[in-house]
């Protein structure tokens, strides 16, 4: 009996030793596309956020057969799920995270500082862009591998804009320079095409409203969070930004009732001239415009959100990074595997930039591959004009939901603009005061 036990123990040891397989759990948003890219390791053949990140992880595993990356895809943004996992000490090893929420987690000491992991892999943090590095740095420590910067953009259907007579002689679209010009062009567009000028995400949505609202505040030179613990939305600038969003709706210059997937498909199907959506769709729309027989065929371009308010050219920006939740039980092998994955992702930031996001690794901007990507010249200025909120502001996603909900009410006429803004202010300040 004793012999049998010893033998089985020896076999068990051998088995463990033989399979020096390290498994790390990665949790991300960006969607699921296993039917198209489940086995694809040719990253250059992938298109779109989901296709590229799926192929990157596949390729990493192919290059590192001793590491298994167990991927869990969550519904965007996935923080509620992550919070529950952190509370039950069951968090993944690597998780996709917006720069704007990192301070929530660092304030509770829930993330691993990555300085050592990155330096062990020879990743020099000075290679990241200033915006990306600032996004992931809290109290002098780096808490996520920066992967990109993103903003909302002015996606243009050139075919419809031509029909509306809104193209310059060189074939570029005429972009409004003020709110008055915006409404003139919207009217001209509708007159000529019978369609609304904008395709917006207005239903079951908060993020899009808030990002535009922040952008138009920033364009008026206003930071609503000069005090990170209290917002001031009772300013004339806040009213002007909200009134503008409401007037777009009132004057029929936008599609209505579209949720996020409907708005993405709506622009792609030619429901309006300008799609207000993020950097992440450039790759998909550009690929669609290369194909024949659709609304964007040979007729797509993209610009930053135009400067419609006078003070400064600015646009709200955020970014995606890869954070590592704290786990005292994590082995050295797992930490090393995480480091290898981080190094791989940083090396391949140029591939990720094909989605449309701005690269987080500064040298990618100089590469021929990046410069030959379509429309990147148009949006390069976002690197300078992009602004994030005061990084000390916590609960930025909860705040985004509050502002988005109240603006939704104001835009749809369920509440007067001033009441919506004062309610948003009261709700946000109650939230921040309870932290």
């Amino acid at each position: 009996m004793k012999k049998l036990l010893l033998t089985s123990a020896a076999v068990a040891c051998l088995a463990t030793g033989a399979s020096a397989q390290t498994t790390i759990e990665l949790q991300r948003f960006f969607g699921a596309c296993d039917s198209d890219y489940g086995d694809n390791t040719d990253v250059s053949a992938a298109v779109g956020e989901c296709g590229i990140i799926t192929s990157l992880i596949n390729d990493f595993q192919a290059q590192n057969p001793d590491i298994t990356v167990d991927v869990t895809t969550v519904e965007w943004p996935g923080y509620d799920q992550l919070n529950a996992q952190l509370a039950s000490r069951n968090a993944p090893d690597v998780v996709s995270m917006h720069y704007s929420v990192i301070s929530d987690y660092t304030s509770r000491n829930l993330l691993e500082p990555l300085g050592d992991i990155l330096s062990e892999q020879g990743i020099d943090t000075s290679t990241f862009t200033d915006a990306a590095l600032a996004g992931v740095t809290k109290d002098g420590q780096i808490y996520a591998l920066p992967f990109d910067n993103w903003t909302m953009l002015w996606h243009v259907n050139l075919n419809l804009m031509e029909e509306a007579g809104l193209l310059n002689d060189d074939g570029t679209p005429i972009v409004p320079g003020s709110t008055d010009e915006f409404f003139e062009q919207a009217a001209q567009f509708k007159e000529a095409t019978g369609k609304p000028y904008l395709v917006q995400i207005l239903a079951n949505e908060t993020a899009a409203y808030t990002r535009l609202f922040y952008t138009f505040l920033m364009q008026q030179g206003v930071d609503p969070f000069t005090d990170p613990n209290a917002v001031d939305l009772t300013t004339p600038e806040a009213t002007a930004a909200a009134e503008f969003l409401k007037r777009i709706y009132d004057e029929g210059a936008t599609t209505t009732d579209m949720d996020y997937p409907a708005a993405v498909a709506g622009f792609s199907g030619g429901d309006g001239g300008i799609g207000i959506n993020g950097t992440w769709l450039i790759g998909d729309y550009a690929a669609q415009s290369q194909e024949e027989g659709n609304a964007l065929s040979d007729g797509y371009t993209v610009y930053p959100l135009p400067q419609l308010f006078g003070a400064q050219d600015a646009t709200y920006a955020d970014g995606h990074g890869w954070a590592v939740p704290r786990d005292p039980r994590r082995s050295d092998e797992e930490v090393a595997a995480i480091g290898q994955l981080m190094a791989y992702l940083a090396e391949n930031d140029g591939e990720w930039a094909r989605t449309g996001h701005l690269p987080a690794v500064a040298s990618v901007f100089e590469t021929e591959e990046f410069q030959s990507l379509p429309h990147r010249d148009n949006i390069a200025e976002v690197a300078e004009t992009g602004q994030s909120l005061n990084p000390e502001v916590r609960r930025q996603f909860a705040i985004q939901d509050i502002i988005g909900e109240e603006l939704n009410s104001a835009v749809h006429g369920n509440k007067p603009v001033d009441e919506a803004l004062s309610t948003a202010q009261q709700r946000i300040n109650d939230l921040l005061a309870s932290l």
């Binding site: 509370a87 079951n204 996603f397 939704n408």
Partner: protein
């Protein structure tokens, strides 16, 4: 001498113990822990001190909370009678020992086994503007399409339709089971007395299934007060909070705002409301003569 059978013995508790252990571990302990949390400043990652009734005061002073209470009450008041009514109708219609009736029972019950995600996906295809089923039907009729999921009033209505479709199986099956328990001789007696179909229904059928109807209504009241997934996935509580139920309010507070104390306080209030509603309903409906 044998002990009188009513005499209590400690060893008898053993029979109830397995259930009691589960009941205490999964219901009593969380309830007490929830009350404790509601008196604390707390997030998911720790407790930061006793705050007394502050969380309750914040919830009770929050217009959004009262809006969610109104939404939930309206939802319960409208959906529960519809669920009981349609459940009764389907039970009566399918109370036959034919293959067709058995098949239709399966059809009507099938929606109940779906997860809330699938249910809301299906109804999203019906309600979304543009390519949605209703939108296409409206366009075909030359009517102006309605933004069912993004218009005040219609959003809660749409959630209600999906909920009734999803939940109708259980009331139907319970009522059907009760109908099949009614002794046939009661109907024979009614037939001998030359009772009309309506009279047979009101004097024989309804009194016989009264207990089950009360049970179905109570279960549905408790279930529909806990409306969450459909509202979160179909409308996210909007627009303007008009389809936000209490559980979504609690979820937002605890998981999105990380304010577990406030979420726990709102949960305890929801518990009290459900308790009062279910007890009230039971008291009102069980006062009549027993048959």
């Amino acid at each position: 001498m044998a002990a009188p059978h009513r005499q209590s013995r400690l060893s008898n508790a053993l029979f109830a113990a397995p259930y009691l252990v589960v009941f205490i571990a999964l219901l009593v302990v969380p309830l007490i822990w929830g009350i404790y949390l509601s008196l604390q400043k707390a997030d998911l990652f720790g407790l930061y001190g006793f705050t007394g009734w502050t969380n309750y005061a914040r919830v009770l002073n929050d217009a959004l909370f009262w809006q969610s209470v109104r939404n939930t009450l309206l939802f319960v008041v409208v959906t529960v009678p519809i669920l009981v009514g349609i459940g009764l109708f389907l039970g009566l219609a399918l109370n036959a020992r034919t293959g067709g009736a058995a098949f239709m029972r399966g059809v009507y019950f099938s929606s109940t086994v779906l997860s809330v995600t699938i249910v809301t996906l299906i109804w999203r295809f019906v309600f979304i503007p543009g390519d949605g089923l209703l939108s296409l039907a409206f366009q075909a009729m030359g009517w102006q399409p309605i933004g069912f999921l993004s218009t005040e009033g219609w959003s809660l209505f749409s959630v209600g339709v999906a909920t009734v479709w999803w939940c109708i199986g259980l009331p139907m099956i319970l009522i059907l089971a009760a109908l099949q328990q009614i002794p046939g001789d009661l109907y024979e007696a009614a037939a001998l007395d030359n009772a009309s179909r309506w009279r047979t229904f009101t004097r024989v059928t309804l009194p016989q299934i009264r207990g089950t109807l009360i049970l179905v209504a109570t279960i549905q009241i408790v279930m529909q007060f806990q409306l969450f997934g459909q509202a979160q996935l179909m409308t996210n509580g909007g627009p303007n909070g008009t389809s936000r139920p209490m559980v979504l309010y609690i979820y937002r507070a605890a998981f999105e705002n990380w304010d577990v104390g406030q979420g726990a306080a709102a949960s305890e209030l929801l518990f009290l409301i459900i308790l009062v509603a279910a007890m009230g309903q039971y008291w009102v409906t069980s006062r009549g003569p027993r048959t």
